[in-house]
């Protein structure tokens, strides 16, 4: 078995990249909404989401547009392994601010769980496969690869989308990397270099 990277998407604030090449660029102001419009996502639920989910949805839209065959696979074939340093900390502090004022909103509270981004993506693409959200610093690509390998090696998934998502205090960064069991593609050992290239 040989696992390689067949496609990857990166978002750094107003700039996005597909396989390392500049892709969509938007205005800095309200940039998540700009991406949504620019990509013609036509998915009104987007507006209700917190920034971590919005960022994940945008990055996945870019990846799926470049790899439409992802949508033709068996609905349990695609696994998502996502990591983040801050997770949903932005929404945590919003909910805490509500609570401090004696309020609480289900529309905010539900996003105080980092894995909701996997749930939102699963709903949009009707994916019933494996997913996990874990907390790690940005240099820890070893864990992403460990998880991806074990999912594909144990036949729980046919391919795996590795994700690194950060949405905190107006700073947005996303990487989604499609790992498949294919001979041709980028070597997994180059993942860190690839992520750090932007």
């Amino acid at each position: 078995m040989s696992l390689t990277i067949s496609s990857y998407v990166q978002i750094r604030q107003e700039k996005s990249f597909l396989n390392g090449t500049p892709c969509v660029t938007v205005d800095e102001q309200d940039l998540l909404k700009q991406y949504y419009k620019e990509l013609e996502m036509n998915y009104p639920k987007f507006y209700k989401m917190d920034s971590l989910c919005k960022l994940g949805m945008i990055a996945m839209e870019l990846l799926v547009k470049s790899k439409p065959e992802l949508l033709d696979k068996n609905n349990e074939a695609v696994a998502m392994v996502f990591q983040s340093e801050n997770g949903c900390l932005q929404t945590d502090s919003e909910h805490q601010a509500d609570v401090d004022q004696g309020k609480s909103s289900p529309a905010v509270f539900v996003y105080t769980l980092s894995n909701i981004v996997c749930g939102e993506i699963s709903i949009r693409y009707k994916w019933f496969g494996e997913s996990v959200f874990f907390i790690s610093d940005a240099t820890d690509t070893k864990s992403l690869l460990t998880y991806a390998k074990s999912l594909i090696l144990t036949d729980k998934a046919e391919c795996c989308i590795l994700g690194r998502l950060e949405a905190f205090e107006g700073s947005y960064s996303a990487d989604l990397v499609l790992v498949e069991n294919k001979d041709e593609g980028i070597h997994l050992e180059d993942l860190q270099k690839l992520l750090d290239s932007k």
Partner: protein, 362 residues
């Protein structure tokens, strides 16, 4: 296949898995009504250590990990390539009122790691209410794929106004003791706990008897982020995948340790998934009536009780259950049962439409 054991639970009912098992075997619950703890000062039944927000999740996690690793052969454990896997939804929420960056789960993970430098790696999974079962599934996969010799899995979550207020806004909390799967159920009770289990490639690591972990899986409902699927889709699929991978027959399953939160929709969803698998006759319980819902700790607490059930061949009654309350008939235990317990299916479901399941075998 891997080996599993050395379980520990720290809850209001005790600080060992054995104490906790004996307490719930006698029908004791950690749930008490606490005054003025709701968002608007409501009295609410919860299972907490003493008073709200006095529980230090790092200290309790450390105690639980130490207690579990004391049940291992230390000389052998020293030589193992080992990973510490933390399961939590919110880490240390007290920090959120002071300094947001100090409240990050990354910080929480680093603080626990600093207490256990002997581990080669530390991971933290935060995956809503399935975090605990999912962590055990991962631990099994990490050991099975020979990336580690042993993985120590610790689940921990404290209760705070943050969480209580959130669940109040969903109208998901019961104002009395929760009654999972019962027709008169009115919602969840929340709780706090820490619990640790060790997964290893070597049975000789464990001082006491250990069991087989046959692994598990995760599946998404792909339906709604806060409402359970009406067809039990994700739960049905994860059970299906777990059973197929482990190559066991459904008829071999002696017992199901269900999630059973006590809300109308969740318990109904679980009954539909079990019914679709024709597991209606298999004895089943929810332990939420003893511990409340302890989030990231729940899967570990409940799996620890499963291991205790296998040690003692005693199945624990589902607290709060009296009358069938789901459209599909399932075999919810009303009394403890002394029977041989060889194969257990443990399940969990949570926000995000996430579901997980795992199998333990004697």
């Amino acid at each position: 296949m891997t080996y599993i054991g050395a379980e520990n639970i720290i809850s209001p009912l005790g600080s060992t898995a054995e104490q906790n098992f004996e307490e719930i075997r006698k029908g004791h619950s950690g749930i008490r009504i606490h005054s003025s703890i709701g968002l608007k000062g409501e009295d609410l039944p919860v299972s907490v250590m003493t008073t709200l927000e006095t529980f230090d999740p790092i200290e309790i996690a450390v105690r639980s990990i130490q207690a579990a690793t004391k049940k291992l052969n230390s000389q052998e454990f020293e030589k193992h390539k080992k990973c510490l896997l933390i399961s939590t939804t919110k880490g240390d929420l007290k920090q959120l009122q002071q300094d947001v960056s100090e409240a990050s789960l990354l910080r929480f993970k680093q603080q626990i790691h600093s207490r256990f430098p002997e581990f080669d790696d530390i991971q933290l999974i935060s995956n809503a209410c399935i975090s605990g079962v999912l962590s055990l599934v991962w631990a099994n996969d990490l050991v099975q794929s020979e990336q580690f010799d042993s993985v120590v899995v610790c689940g921990v979550d404290m209760l705070s106004t943050f969480t209580l207020a959130g669940f109040q806004s969903f109208f998901a909390l019961s104002d009395t003791h929760c009654r999972p799967f019962d027709k008169d159920r009115t919602g969840i009770n929340l709780g706090e706990a820490a619990s640790t289990i060790v997964v290893s490639s070597q049975p000789s690591l464990f001082k006491e008897a250990c069991f087989h972990c046959l692994g598990g899986s995760v599946s998404s409902d792909a339906n709604h982020i806060s409402g359970p699927s009406r067809t039990g889709e994700g739960l049905f699929r994860t059970i299906d995948r777990t059973i197929r991978q482990a190559k066991v027959e459904k008829s071999e399953i002696d017992f199901i340790s269900a999630h059973g939160t006590g809300t109308n929709y969740n318990d109904e969803m679980e009954s539909i998934a079990f019914d679709r698998h024709e597991l209606n006759k298999v004895p089943l319980n929810s332990l939420k009536g003893y511990f409340g819902h302890t989030f990231g700790a729940a899967g570990l607490v409940e799996s620890s009780i499963c291991l205790q059930s296998m040690r003692k061949n005693v199945l624990i009654a589902s607290a709060g259950y009296a009358n069938q309350g789901t459209t599909k008939e399932i075999n919810v235990l009303q009394e403890n049962q002394s029977v041989p317990v060889d194969l257990i299916l443990k399940t969990a479901s949570g926000f995000g439409g996430s579901n997980a399941s795992i199998l333990f075998k004697k």
